[in-house]
């Protein structure tokens, strides 16, 4: 394992007005490992992911990718950095005006200037890799089921062989069988690429299938982190409450 972490967050803070979403997040993701962030809704998981991707600017702290601080990076360096990333969005975020193969090949053609014919061949290859038939290539996203859209989103995320892949709630809205299929595909694709993965999820099935390491976020701070095999014996009351889905515990919900 390389000594320099692939992703390193130090003391990240982010507020929206008086709403302090991230209150000093520290997180290290080693190269080639799969880290899963767990935590309740509104605890700052998505905001943290968006800060790493540069979609939001943190108020304080540092984010390092391969040891390089990326906060305040110029647009050109940022564009180059983004080539290291792939992302599967919660709702797949497929471009509805484009066919499936065009969605998958989009980053290759528009972002990297690849020839259309070659990009289409790669798209077809990725469609097969995520377990879909090649006939899906010429359909539009609206013609696909939720599970198929997730598979296409996954194919798009891995199309350019990224070094780092983010998964935002990859199994939300899917039935348990389809959720397991997506989890297995994620493991398979991440292993095949040798990529570093960072996922956020509520689904404990996903956590146990795709994680090497787990971090628990609560009120904008990482309250526990460790290998997935230690999750059940963490001794952390927040983790205990969350993984067992108990209403009673240190995590309280404000009900209006």
């Amino acid at each position: 394992m390389s000594k320099t972490p692939k992703i390193e967050l130090s003391a990240i803070r982010k507020s929206f007005g008086n709403n302090h979403v991230l209150n000093g997040v520290d997180l290290v993701v080693p190269e080639g490992k799969s880290m899963v962030i767990i935590g309740g809704s509104g605890t700052g998981k998505s905001v943290m992911l968006k800060c790493i991707l540069g979609l939001l600017d943190p108020d304080e702290g540092s984010i390092k990718i391969d040891g390089q601080d990326i906060i305040g990076m110029g647009p050109q360096n940022r564009d180059a950095l983004m080539r290291k990333f792939g992302m599967l969005f919660q709702g797949a975020a497929l471009f509805d005006s484009m066919k499936v193969w065009q969605n998958i090949a989009f980053g290759l053609i528009q972002g990297r200037g690849m020839e259309r014919k070659k990009a289409r061949d790669i798209a077809i290859e990725k469609i097969t890799a995520v377990g879909l038939g090649t006939d899906v290539a010429d359909l539009y996203p609206a013609e696909l089921s939720g599970g198929m859209q997730k598979r296409v989103g996954l194919a798009r995320a891995v199309a350019a062989n990224p070094e780092i892949i983010f998964f935002d709630e990859p199994t939300t809205g899917l039935d348990p069988i389809m959720a397991d299929v997506i989890n297995q595909l994620i493991v398979e694709q991440v292993k095949q690429l040798g990529a570093t993965a960072l996922s956020i999820t509520h689904d404990m099935g996903s956590v146990r299938t795709i994680a090497d390491y787990v971090a628990m976020i609560h009120e904008g701070k990482i309250v526990w982190t460790g290998p997935v095999k230690e999750l059940d014996k963490s001794g952390n009351p927040y983790v205990e409450q969350f993984i067992h889905g108990r209403a009673d515990g240190p995590i309280t919900r404000r009900v209006a």
Binding site: K50, L53, G54, L55, P75, D79, M82, R83, F85, G86, M87, F89, Q90, G91, A93, L94, F95, D96, F106, G107, Q110, G111, R112, G113, R156, A160, F166
Partner: protein, 268 residues
């Protein structure tokens, strides 16, 4: 009661607070819009460019707006001729109708009405499309795929609207004048030869050019307001609906304001 509590309960303090808060919000929004305009213009002139996107927008904004702008100009020219005739006959000034029609159409009516019609058709569509892309995270997806949304989504719309609206207005000028001609000849009994010669005698190059410059500015306004409100759309269907309404209302008002300012510059 401490000083702070006394200030809060003081009606004069409350008025200052409300005015100050409104002013700060206005300045904040103006700054946000200015930064957005600056970024959009910068990315319109710096590579990479997306010619296929630009072509799509030229067709969507320009070609598909032709019927709307053409119909608007035609009936405006026709009504203008009829109304002018009704008024001018009182002063035996019927011969001025051709001049009134051509000047009104080229200087004001074609650019302003085309701008407002395109704001309704195109501005709303831009805001709805980009707003939906924002809500469904498609704009974030563009960024993660190493494609700058300003270059891919906004620059082509901005360039296309700024180029096509003058072309639409030029067509509107011709159609509007023709509308006035048709009513004057077939309804009011004017002689075709004298109507055309009166039109040519009155119109000057600057009348047409000023209208086309206005149209370019209006096209820019329509596209930038559509993109701005779509890009900053709130969540859900309500957010996209509000973005669409704001895009049309703000671009329509800005068109009327800039029409006055440009008229002042060209003809004062």
């Amino acid at each position: 009661m401490d000083t702070k509590s006394q200030n809060i309960s003081n009606p004069v303090f409350n008025i200052f607070q409300a005015v100050g808060s409104a002013l700060l919000t206005f300045l904040q929004k103006t700054g946000k819009l200015s930064a957005f305009v600056g970024r959009s213009v910068y990315h319109s002139f710096t590579p990479p460019f997306f010619p296929a996107q630009l072509w799509r927008q030229l067709v969507d904004i320009g070609y598909y707006s032709l019927p709307v702008v053409g119909m608007t100009a035609l009936f405006t020219g026709m009504v203008l001729a009829l109304q002018s005739y009704t008024g001018f006959t009182r002063f035996n000034a019927e011969s001025a109708i051709a001049g009134v029609v051509v000047l009104s159409v080229t200087r004001e009516l074609a650019p302003v009405l085309a701008g407002l019609m395109v704001a309704g058709r195109v501005g709303a569509a831009i805001a709805a499309e980009i707003g939906t892309m924002r809500v469904t995270e498609q704009i974030d997806a563009l960024t993660t795929l190493s494609v700058n949304p300003f270059k891919y989504l906004i620059a082509p719309r901005l360039i296309a609207a700024t180029i096509t609206l003058p072309v639409l207005v030029l067509v509107g000028d011709v159609v509007g004048v023709y509308g006035g001609y048709v009513v004057s000849i077939y309804n009011l009994g004017f002689s075709p030869g004298s109507y055309i010669s009166q039109t040519w005698d009155v119109v000057e190059k600057m009348d047409v050019i000023s209208g086309l410059i206005k149209a370019g500015v209006f096209g820019f306004i329509v596209a930038i307001m559509g993109c701005y409100h779509g890009f900053h759309s709130g969540r859900g269907a309500q957010g996209v609906g509000a973005a669409t309404t704001n895009a049309v209302v703000s671009s329509s008002i800005l068109i009327l304001i800039f029409n006055y300012l440009l008229t002042q510059v060209f003809f004062s």
